[in-house]
């Protein structure tokens, strides 16, 4: 156990990335991820790394692509509108099987939207962050501690599975300060990057990093192989937190900052005599589908609480498979739901 330090969520990601051996950050300024790039700019040079401000999000993600293709650990960060710009590069990272860590400190959308915390990029992150048949691993921290520990985990997952990994945070988690232990996590074993393009040194055939396959059967094969890796990821990498679920009739599903508010609501509901509990997905892809399917056998009702108009609720519905009612409660546009509102919703639904 290391010494605890007080940090902002955005800074915790930056510090954890450097501690995970990442020496390259490419970004473009946008609120509310700003502290992350500023921390990188201040500290990377002191530790033999580089923090480079690109001319656009598009350029930044392609710098990430180049650095990753050459074998380096590399990270970029942005907020919602900037992530949309990065989606081209993310698709290419997937298509070329390149590891990278992409941080989305979410704000309200669509368009310029707002700059307050939101969770309205859930669909984008988990369903369609780029064209083509693809996924990326999506991790959803709910504390400054997790902003740090999941960053280390993100780099390891990216390297093990040769895939981009997204840290899906939000403006609240990015801005708030909490004491954290930066040495909490143990690194995993990482395979050697024999595929990297950093010069063959006249010792091997040339490596090629590419996402173009003109022959449909060959392209299909690369996708099938990638989906076999996704299957492994779905089997072995699902992470979630259970809170008062053992005897729960009423299951709230919430991730990130919303899960913290939901915990308060669960406690209040319990005091009011409702057996509420919380399932907090930590991995949004892979989604804790199996766990929810189990809960569907014992619980009576599910409520997905999100800071959007109802996105994750559809994954909950798919997992519950019509066995029990599943509904959504939330605010959007940067409005944060209060514990009281959630408790009222629980009472209303539990009374039915």
């Amino acid at each position: 156990m290391g010494q605890k330090v007080l940090m902002k969520g955005n800074e915790a990601i930056a510090e954890a990335a450097m501690r995970a051996g990442c020496k390259l950050f490419f970004g473009y300024p946008i609120t509310p991820q700003t502290e992350l790039s500023e921390y990188m700019a201040k500290n990377m040079p002191k530790r033999g790394g580089l923090s480079l401000q690109a001319e656009s999000e598009v350029a930044a993600i392609n710098m990430v692509y180049g650095a990753s293709a050459s074998g380096a650990r590399v990270i970029t960060s942005s907020s919602s509108p900037g992530i949309s710009l990065k989606s081209e590069g993310v698709s290419y990272l997937v298509g070329a099987d390149l590891p990278a860590v992409i941080v989305n400190v979410q704000r309200g959308g669509p368009g310029l939207g707002g700059i307050q915390a939101a969770q309205s990029d859930y669909y984008q992150a988990t369903k369609a962050l780029g064209h083509g048949d693809m996924h990326l691993i999506v991790l959803a921290p709910a504390s400054v501690q997790e902003m740090a520990s999941l960053t280390g985990e993100a780099f390891d997952l990216a390297d093990i599975y040769r895939t981009p990994v997204m840290l899906l945070a939000d403006g609240a988690l990015g801005q708030m300060m909490e004491p954290i232990d930066l040495d909490e996590r143990k690194a995993r074993e990482i395979p050697e990057k024999t595929w990297a393009c950093s010069g063959h040194d006249n010792k091997r055939e040339h490596n090629i990093i590419n996402s173009l396959y003109i022959v449909p059967e060959v392209l299909e094969k690369t996708i099938l192989d990638r989906f076999e890796r996704y299957r492994q990821i779905e089997e072995t990498e699902v992470k979630y937190e259970e809170f008062m679920l053992d005897d729960a009739d009423f299951v709230i599903v919430a991730y990130g900052i919303t899960s913290r508010i939901a915990k308060t609501a669960v406690r209040a509901a319990r005091q009011a005599g409702i057996k509420a509990g919380l399932l907090r997905p930590i991995t949004l892809y892979p989604f804790p589908t199996k766990k929810l399917a189990q809960l569907a056998d014992t619980a009576k009702r599910f409520l997905s609480v999100e800071m959007n108009m109802g996105q994750m609720v559809n994954d909950v519905k798919l997992a519950v498979d019509c066995k029990k009612p599943v509904t959504h409660f939330g605010h959007t546009g940067g409005v944060i739901p209060t514990p009281d509102e959630i408790v009222s919703e629980i009472k209303k639904l539990a009374g039915n």
């Binding site: 001319e55 692509y65 393009c197 490596n207």
Partner: protein, 250 residues
């Protein structure tokens, strides 16, 4: 028997897919010869474009990364910043470099990235079948300018070498052509010089190569070479537009 002509080591054995009379093959060879001359194949990473040269990763024997359309200079930046002592070059066409990738081109220059850009200007989108390029000449017929490029509708052709020469951080810019032996020899010198500038960390080096596209120009290979002399070069004059090593000796 003495070998007087051979394939450069920095080219693989895979046959080029280019159309008859296309000059991509010549430029590939010149790049490979420069890599051989400098003995840097093992320390070089190429960045392939989207366009006719998309399969360049099959042809160059060094490590090669395929980039998204226009993004090659950003990808090259990522490689170079991770491996400052390796040689990194991009090979891009006019649509890739001068339209969708203009920002990446200009800013890689402004940052003084020690990379080499080989810029193929044939005034047309070849791979997609002959659409207007940012460098298409006024009056030139393409599938998307079927009545000829009209400056009042489609705007004006961009002169990249002249523009990049104004960018601080760019060390070397030369426009060459490969339509006759003299020009090919000059192009070879320019490409080698560009890699030497990179070696000496003099900032971005760019060689614009005026090239042909007989297929999409609707010309025979021979007439395409004539088109370079009569139409292309008058609009895109050959020469050195920037050389920071020369500026120092003035």
């Amino acid at each position: 028997m003495k070998t007087v002509f051979d394939k450069p080591h920095a080219l693989t054995d895979i046959p080029f897919h280019y159309c008859p009379g296309c000059t991509h093959g010549i430029v590939h060879r010149l790049v490979a010869e420069a890599i051989d001359d400098l003995g840097i194949e093992g320390n070089t990473v190429g960045i392939a474009p989207v366009g006719c040269a998309v399969f360049a990763y099959n042809y160059f024997a060094c490590d090669v990364i395929e980039a998204a359309h226009g993004r090659a200079p950003a990808v090259a930046t990522g490689v170079k910043r991770a491996h400052p002592d390796k040689f990194v070059f991009t090979y891009q066409g006019d649509g890739d470099l001068a339209a969708i990738g203009t920002a990446e081109t200009v800013h890689s220059g402004a940052r003084g990235e020690n990379i080499t850009i080989i810029f193929i200007n044939n005034a047309i989108y070849g791979m997609t079948g002959g659409q207007m390029a940012p460098t298409t000449l006024i009056g030139q017929v393409t599938t998307t300018t079927p009545y000829g490029r009209d400056r009042n509708i489609q705007g004006n052709p961009i002169r990249i070498s002249e523009m990049m020469a104004t960018v601080e951080g760019v060390g070397f810019v030369q426009r060459v052509a490969v339509n006759n032996v003299k020009n090919v020899l000059e192009a070879k010198k320019a490409i080698k010089k560009a890699f030497e500038m990179q070696r000496d960390k003099r900032g971005l080096s760019l060689v614009e190569v005026i090239s042909t596209c007989p297929t999409n120009w609707g010309l025979s290979p021979k007439d395409a070479l004539k088109f370079v002399d009569e139409k292309m070069i008058p609009h895109y004059p050959l020469g050195v537009f920037k050389d920071v090593t020369k500026e120092e000796t003035k």
